[in-house]
Symmetry: C2
Subunit: 454 residues, 2 copies
């Protein structure tokens, strides 16, 4: 197989170097690393197709790899085989300004894309915090701080070029804003975590940079008040572009790491996009609403440097925790619930954290009903892993019982597999049938999302 | 089979009456009618499941039926068998105000739902013109005048209860605003036109009725100017909620039918939703933009009665044509293109109409890049059908060559099947594999979207 790969790729595109293998053995989470046999670095769709044809012929598993910023072990090659690293396919291929579309290779990162788009007065909306690749973000249906306004990754994907397991190259969509033609493959392939094929090109929707941006930081006596205020803002139809909850513990961690001096109480970081007159009216209304929920103080920012400082502090939170607990590894819960259930779910999570005696904080994309408990765990202690796992399970079951999902944006990988049957019931069988129909030998990122048993 | 059905349903729920069969033999289009063998009227999911189990056992085709307002022959049972009419499953089951969600049975129509929602200050956004059922709208991924702002049917579906071919009941989603759990079945089942299962319950996203609504009618010397103005408005980031193009011929037809006296020139019907201050700023900006595109006059409306009159004239256009050409039948083209290609496509369509000497007008959801040529054809004349077909083909090929789709919102049914291979290429094989995996005996609305050949 190695020899066959070296026939179709140049020597520096095929590696069995230990350091390279190790770099591709893990993601940013607590999941146990495992080495691939070979790492390849294709530069074109044609090369990916050739690699897939070989893997199909030799029955070797294939794992696509972006930046390794996944949080549920998605890219860890537990079945060995070939890891396809897309870092050399990192070009922004086309910007169609008038159509608000951009065509990129899968290895382009979101900050790289936004730097390019800025020249055109455009931006790409999905912002998961990590500087992930767009291929990886599509593979997990990533979202983040702005999805309350602009939607998740799946909402931005107009077309994917996908190399299937047998090397066939397909397009899942087209460039039109909407279509009712054929079965909808775009939505199916987004979030498929490499289990149905490898993405080699993405056509994505982008937006004009808003005319006017205003941010606010609002402090509350309790997390419950903060979440209730968000429900109030959404119910009033105020088109908020970002609304992040950061609890007391996380504000402390943020201040330590980002050298900010924000008040260490439950806080909402908010952002509003629109025209000046409209925003001023919206913000006046919003001030009245948060006052009803015992808001203790609200600070506004329109200055770009201050805006950046605010969101940087938010984005660095995971790293702030990692820094604050040297030697420990990050576990992040990721449930999403109907917004009416969110306050209760966060309260429950806080109680469980205390009960299990686990250090950690809670942050959330509360406009979507999505929150994360950030836990720092000692992965050398089986007892601590078990405890964290029990905690995660308790959070997930609470969400599933209330119409929620076990993962709002991180995906299933290996970490959320045990909840798939409970969440999807008989629908899991439909997913399995689709997987088997498109990947009969189970070679595409095998045993991720679901484990197939014959 | 009939006997078996009568065992599980009450007598009035099973019909072989000729009038009933005839009512279920056609849709609103020019496609040739064909009778089902039996029509059933289930009242519960359990009954649908029992019907499907029987059909599976006896290998009898099943066609789901809403109101018969489809335009590409979707509901015509060319393979005979059972038609499941969902008109008795027409209850709004639950309104979750705080979550902006509503749970309905598939036979609820959109006007019925909106009447109910109005009591809560909410509305359902998808507006295809016809008073279709929500089950049918999900089955074709319908959209319409408001999708430029609120998205298409697929964007509103949070969860579907689906009865599969073997009678198994699944849920394709959950109640959370976003999820990265498992393969995304919601998106796949929406737009599947009854070929993967029958919808028995839908959970849909709804919106707050906007604080302030303003409509405008803008006249232009040419269709090209009107479309270019729309591109200008969208590029400026003005959040328009509706923007409809109505050409000269269609304005004439609208005036005749709706007894309006609008100027008979290419016209944009627009609507803006938001807060008063924001809209006023947007509209000022919009006025400057349309002036650049030789806008000859613009009239504003904020009065609800006038707003209704405007949109009624737009919605009645198809009926206006049907009325204007007694004895003829409606054929509607439905391509959607990247917006930068729209002006050229409409010009091309107008030229082709003249070339073929076909009477008809052009209207369009131009904010999405979607337009319709409305043709009245004499279905007793093979020559005229052929001509109309050639015209349609020319429109479709123009769109496909420019990254567009053969159907923006009406779906494939039987009318757009011949373009599926050209549009989807190798991806059509993926769709076929999914269809075969979920419906191995090809009993679910067989030979719609694609014809399976063994």
């Amino acid at each position: 197989m190695l020899k066959a790969l070296k026939n179709i790729l140049s020597p520096e595109q095929v590696s069995t170097n230990q350091t390279i293998l190790q770099q591709h053995s893990k993601d940013e989470s607590y999941h146990t690393p495992s080495l691939p046999d070979i790492v390849v670095f294709p530069m074109t769709t044609e090369e990916v197709s050739k690699i897939m044809k070989l893997a199909y012929q030799y029955k070797v598993p294939v794992v696509p790899f972006g930046r390794g910023s996944s949080l549920e072990g998605h890219v860890i090659p537990y079945n060995k085989g070939i890891t396809i690293d897309f870092s050399l396919m990192n070009k922004v291929l086309e910007i169609k300004e008038e159509d608000f579309l951009v065509k990129v290779q899968p290895g382009v990162t979101r900050t790289q894309l936004n730097k390019e788009l800025k020249k055109y007065g455009l931006f790409f909306s999905v912002d998961p915090g990590a500087d992930a690749t767009l291929g990886g973000m599509a593979a997990t249906n990533a979202s983040g701080t702005t999805s309350v306004r602009y939607g998740v990754m799946r909402d931005q994907v107009r077309d994917l070029e996908v190399v299937l397991g047998d090397g066939t190259v397909i397009h899942t969509g087209n460039l039109a804003a909407k279509s009712s033609s054929g079965l909808h493959l775009n939505g199916l392939f987004v979030g498929s975590e490499g289990t149905l094929g490898c993405f080699t090109e993405l056509t994505l929707r982008v937006y004009g940079i808003p005319e006017y941006v205003m941010a606010a930081r609002a402090s509350f006596p309790t997390v419950h008040d903060a979440v209730s205020a968000v429900v109030g803002i959404l119910s009033a139809g105020i088109p908020i572009a970002r609304v992040e909850l950061i609890d007391e513990q996380s504000m402390k961690q943020a201040n330590l790491f980002s050298e900010t001096d924000y008040q260490e109480v439950p806080t909402l970081f908010m952002e509003f996009h629109g025209n000046e007159a409209g925003l001023k009216q919206d913000v006046e209304f919003m001030k009245e609403i948060v006052a009803d929920y015992r808001c203790q103080g609200i600070e506004f920012e329109t200055d770009q440097a201050e805006l950046n400082r605010l969101w940087e502090a938010r984005h660095n939170l995971a790293y702030a925790y990692i820094h604050g607990y040297p030697g420990k590894k990050l576990m992040v819960t990721d449930v999403c619930l109907p917004i009416s259930e969110l306050a209760g779910a966060i309260e429950h999570a806080r109680e469980e954290l205390e009960k299990f005696g686990l250090p950690g904080g809670i942050v959330g994309h509360v406009g979507d009903g999505n929150f994360h408990a950030l836990l720092m765990i000692d992965v050398t202690s089986q007892e601590e892993i078990k405890k964290a796992d029990k905690f995660n399970e308790s959070i997930v079951l609470y969400a599933l019982e209330r119409g929620g999902t076990c993962t709002g944006e991180h995906g299933v990988g290996v970490g959320k597999q045990k909840y798939q049957e409970k969440e999807h019931g008989a629908a899991l069988m439909v997913m399995e049938k689709i997987k088997r129909a498109l990947d009969p030998d189970n070679l595409l990122n095998p045993n991720k999302i679901m484990k197939l048993t014959d």
